[in-house]
Symmetry: C2
Subunit: 116 residues, 2 copies
DNA sequence: TGCTTGATTCGACGTTCATCGATGTGCCCT
DNA sequence: AGGGCACATCGATGAACGTCGAATCAAGCA
């Protein structure tokens, strides 16, 4: 119905359907693939994990930069995670704090859960 | 303890830790990133979805090949999904049947669930 | 033995990506 | 104003990736 007329801008809106329930549409697959792709790099996954497991749910770049690559590369990966909708960033004074987008996590795990 | 001495060959064994619980080790991140990477392509995600949502939990290649790319490309993507441990394949007569590795799905969704 | 259909492998081509050093920007402190 | 720190952007480079047509393999059938 009207669902077809709203293109579902955010990956989060795009998926609440469990993978095993019914096959994905082309649009859904493109949005979700972008999120999976963002986590499909060891360095990015570690950065994401460091942020997600941080006490206050947020971490400054300096807290998580120790992943074995140069600082520009860390910044590059954080940007990709941000562009995929998995992270948000906020500058407070000298430091920039990153935080996991909660609904994004839910969308991915919801899709992978076998509840159908 | 002894956990450190067994390298956790399979991605499934490697991860049962929720992402938000504690940060991933280097080995864990590499194994899990390979699985996410495998789903990080729209065509592969649709193939995976088609198999996962198939009635008997398995599908022959001919049932899922209609994803808009050539047949060698389909085969290539199925191979990548197999190598990531997400699918298993079995030849029965003329056709080859693919099936989702159940524990792989569980590992990924378990990692993304926020239960900590 | 040949022929047909289903599926994988091979070789090539253009694109995307991860990585780095150098440079730029924003903020704080003296 | 000036210097120093945290982080982002730029430009380049080599590797990995997605895609295809052609060739190959595997199984069934005449």
């Amino acid at each position: 119905m009207s669902k077809l007329r709203e293109p579902a801008r955010s990956p989060v809106e795009a998926c609440c359907t469990p993978l095993v329930g019914q096959e994905l549409s082309v649009e859904q697959s493109e949005l979700m693939a972008a999120m999976f792709k963002a986590l499909g790099d060891p360095v990015r996954l570690r950065l994401f994990s460091k942020i997600a497991s941080h006490p206050d749910g947020e971490a400054c770049v300096c807290d998580i930069s120790d992943v074995g690559v140069s600082q520009p590369t860390v910044s590059h990966h954080l940007k990709r995670l941000r562009e995929a909708g998995l992270l948000t960033s906020e500058r407070r004074g000298t430091w920039v704090y990153y935080r996991v987008t909660p609904s994004a996590l839910g969308a991915m795990s919801g899709m992978l859960s076998a509840d159908a």
